[in-house]
């Protein structure tokens, strides 16, 4: 079981963590909302919670909770460039159907 980062994604997140000046890692998860049921949560983690599950990928700590792991297990977070646009994208094997925008999905 794991959630991983691509190497490029890890460098990118580390860069922003250092510019932000605080944070122990990246929190990923899901919440119920959006056009297709669930949507991703992508936040800075300033601390770890009791139920947290922590992975380390290319030197960056990736934190999630049990619900997040259920829906995100096996996912890789990648850094994607589309023209000038640069940002993160989940490659999630659990997704059955996603809304056109990719921000929400069903499993």
């Amino acid at each position: 079981m794991s959630i991983t980062l691509s190497e490029k994604a890890a460098d990118y997140i580390r860069d922003y963590l250092s510019r932000r000046g605080k944070g122990v890692g990246l929190r990923v998860g899901v919440k119920t909302s959006g056009c297709s049921g669930l949507s991703y949560v992508l936040e800075y983690a300033d601390e770890f919670m009791p139920n947290d599950i922590i992975f380390e990928s290319h030197g960056v700590k990736v934190v999630t909770d049990p619900k997040g792991l259920l829906h995100l297990d096996g996912s890789e977070l990648d850094l994607v460039r589309e023209g000038l646009n640069l940002g993160l994208k989940f490659n999630n094997p659990n997704v059955k159907d996603a809304c056109g925008c990719g921000e929400s999905f069903t499993v």
Binding site: Y16, R20, C35, S39, L84, N85, G87, L88, E103
Partner: protein, 632 residues
């Protein structure tokens, strides 16, 4: 899709809720765009990785070039290459024709309020040219952020008057950018600086840009950025240092101040760029040498020493320090009470400037923040809050009006209505009466500035109040309210009090585009572009209409007790009308229905505001109430 950004803990928004907003520093020499990405404010480069977009626009017969490509044409086709166009914003033909050095453009003699210049694309005003600078910045940001922008915060010199601010706003409109706020440049810098270091206390922001100088004194306390005084000079900047060197070069070359063969526009530009290059090369050295070619031959070779330069620069720096002293006096503080001096603007790289400013405030100035980027970064932070991505509780800006607002009285004197450095927003009412029996109209002249006589101040607008009910002289009581909003823009309203009649106001801005001209320009712009102006209008109207309906629904639900028997049927009718209009395709009809709804809702919304104030003061649910108000 827009790719995902990292949010602050607990602030992941619902999908699609993250609104894309930018801060734009529309500078005299260079412009930049920045946005908050992954919670960090950063400047957005173009495809070549360049952050600074030179504020230059070149009109060729078949295309419009912006930035470095345009700047490169300055020497070869000066008539159609517009640089430092910001200096022309909100200025009349008279002002513009007196500028030094003389501008190489051909002006339309028929248009004096908003000077228009000849280009292969027809007559162009400074507003339209500035819009051309904003367009690629907007496009750059949309490509980086992956979607259409909700809006932007555009920075202006704190010392900009109403006409200059209005011109900036119009330029954004022409570029298709919704303006969330016009933000004063030094305030933006203070924001970027203060948030970065969690600074507290009194700070001074010394902002010497290419064409303008601003000084602002701020008090920072727990995320509140309060401007307590501001001052400056909109006609003084780094360009003036170049100009001083250029004059010095002319003198050394034996050409004097008025050479027998007048310089053509190309030579003029060459002279300016030689001067600028000398200034930049001198930084950190004792002297720097160069050669000047004019009229196709070398007219001078020689060196500029530090001492020469200081002699040229000191009178200019002196002017900035006088403004600093005035701002300190207005703020009621001593120079030694200032805890930090933040330097902003490319011209603060000049060592002599740093040296003199340090001496004036009696402390080392802060130069470790990139003076080119800090304004855009601050604007991006404010845009993020105004777009709703970040709670406003974390930071709040309280700005002031830079110039006194007054009315012309008998004998060409000015009566001050709103003194400078008054916290914004501000509204002041003044009562007038008629001086003739049966008088039904009255003219007012609004000016901005600090001098006692009208002719020495900036004329903002002339108003005619019409529809005053005929009465004996002195019986009418006309209350005129002047409001300056958080953008520093003025609106005026009037009412005759004895009859309750609202006097009609005809506004004639002294310098600036009328609403109709902006509309016409928008139409022209879209005739040539693929973007469909009608479709965008309709979309915007629907968004605003839906927002109004939702806001009213939730207000009616949460404060039903404040609704009267009279309110309900009127509100319901207006709601139905608007809901129907939204289904249609007529933007005009939707906007009219919104206006009707808002007029109908006005008494109710005001009662809610009053109640919110009382509750806020009652202490117990203070923050909840304002929060509730905001979210409904």
């Amino acid at each position: 899709m827009s790719l995902m950004q990292i949010a602050e803990p607990g602030q992941s928004l619902a999908p699609h809720a993250h609104r894309l907003a930018v801060g734009i520093d529309l500078g005299t020499t260079n412009s930049l765009v920045a946005s908050v990405i992954n919670g960090v404010a950063e400047c957005i480069p173009n495809a070549n990785g360049e952050l600074l977009l030179p504020s230059a626009v070149y009109f060729a017969a078949d295309k419009i070039a912006v930035g470095s490509a345009a700047k490169a044409r300055a020497a070869s086709d000066p008539e159609h290459t517009f640089i430092s166009i910001k200096r022309l914003m909100g200025r009349g033909l008279d002002d513009v024709q007196q500028m030094k050095p003389a501008l190489p453009y051909r002006f339309d003699p028929a248009e004096t309020a908003v000077p228009r210049m000849d280009t292969p694309h027809g007559w162009m005003s400074a507003v339209e040219i500035s819009a051309e600078i904003l367009k690629p910045l907007k496009a750059r940001a949309e490509a980086r952020l992956g979607g259409e922008l909700t809006g932007g915060v555009i920075t202006v010199p704190a010392y900009f008057d109403d006409a200059q601010r209005q011109a900036t706003r119009d330029a954004a409109r022409l570029a298709g950018l919704h303006v969330l706020r016009l933000l004063n440049e030094p305030t933006a810098a203070a924001l970027a600086y203060g948030l970065d270091r969690q600074a507290e206390g009194l700070i001074a922001v010394y902002d010497l840009g290419g064409g303008t100088f601003d000084i602002s004194i701020l008090r920072l306390r727990q995320g509140v950025f309060e401007v307590i005084a501001t001052g400056g000079d909109t006609q003084l900047g780094g360009d003036d240092f170049d100009q001083a060197i250029a004059l010095w070069l002319m003198e050394r070359a034996g050409l004097g101040l008025s050479p027998s063969t007048p310089l053509n526009a190309g030579d003029q530009r060459h002279l300016s760029s030689t001067a600028c290059a000398l200034k930049e090369a001198l930084t950190g050295k004792e002297q720097t040498c160069a050669r000047l070619d004019l009229h196709g031959k070398t007219v001078w070779t020689g060196c500029l020493t530090c001492n020469d330069f200081n002699t040229l620069a000191d009178p200019l720096i002196e002017r900035t320090l006088t403004a600093c002293a005035q701002a300190l006096k207005d703020a009621g503080i001593q120079a030694n009470e200032i805890q930090e001096v933040v330097m902003v603007g490319g011209a603060t790289r000049v060592p002599r400037v740093r040296e003199r400013v340090s001496a004036f405030f009696g402390r080392e100035v802060l130069t470790d923040i990139d003076p080119d980027k800090v304004v855009a970064l601050g604007a991006a932070l404010q845009a993020d809050v105004l777009a709703g991505n970040k709670p406003a509780d974390e930071m709040l800006l309280l700005d002031v009006t830079p110039l006194s607002l007054g009315l012309e009285t008998m004998g060409g004197l000015v009566e001050t209505l709103i003194p400078r450095n008054t916290t914004l927003p501000v509204a002041r009412a003044q009562e007038f009466t008629t001086f003739k029996d049966g008088q039904t109209a009255m003219s007012l002249h609004v000016v901005q500035g600090e001098r006692d006589s009208v002719e020495h101040n900036r004329s903002l607008a002339r108003f005619t109040l019409r529809g005053i009910p005929p009465m004996v002289a002195g019986a009418a009581r006309i209350r005129v309210t002047f409001q300056i909003d958080a953008d520093g823009l003025l609106t005026v309203s009037a009412q005759e009090k004895t009859s309750g009649i609202h006097a009609e106001i005809q506004v004639k801005p002294s310098y600036g585009l009328s609403e109709e001209s902006v509309e016409q320009m928008l139409r022209n712009a879209f005739d040539h572009a693929s973007d469909d102006v009608q479709a965008r209008r309709l979309r915007e109207a629907k968004v605003e209409a839906t927002r109004s309906l939702e806001a009213l629904d939730s207000a009616m639900a949460s404060d039903a007790d404040l609704l009267t028997e009279i309110d309900r049927p009127i509100l319901n009718a207006a709601q139905t009308l608007l809901s129907q209009a939204i289904q249609g395709e007529d933007a005009q009809a939707i906007n009219e229905a919104v206006e009707q709804l808002e007029n109908a809702a006005l008494p109710f919304i005001q009662r809610r505001m009053n109640q919110a104030v009382s509750r806020a003061l009652a202490g117990h649910t203070v923050d909840d109430m304002a929060t509730q108000m905001r979210h409904t």
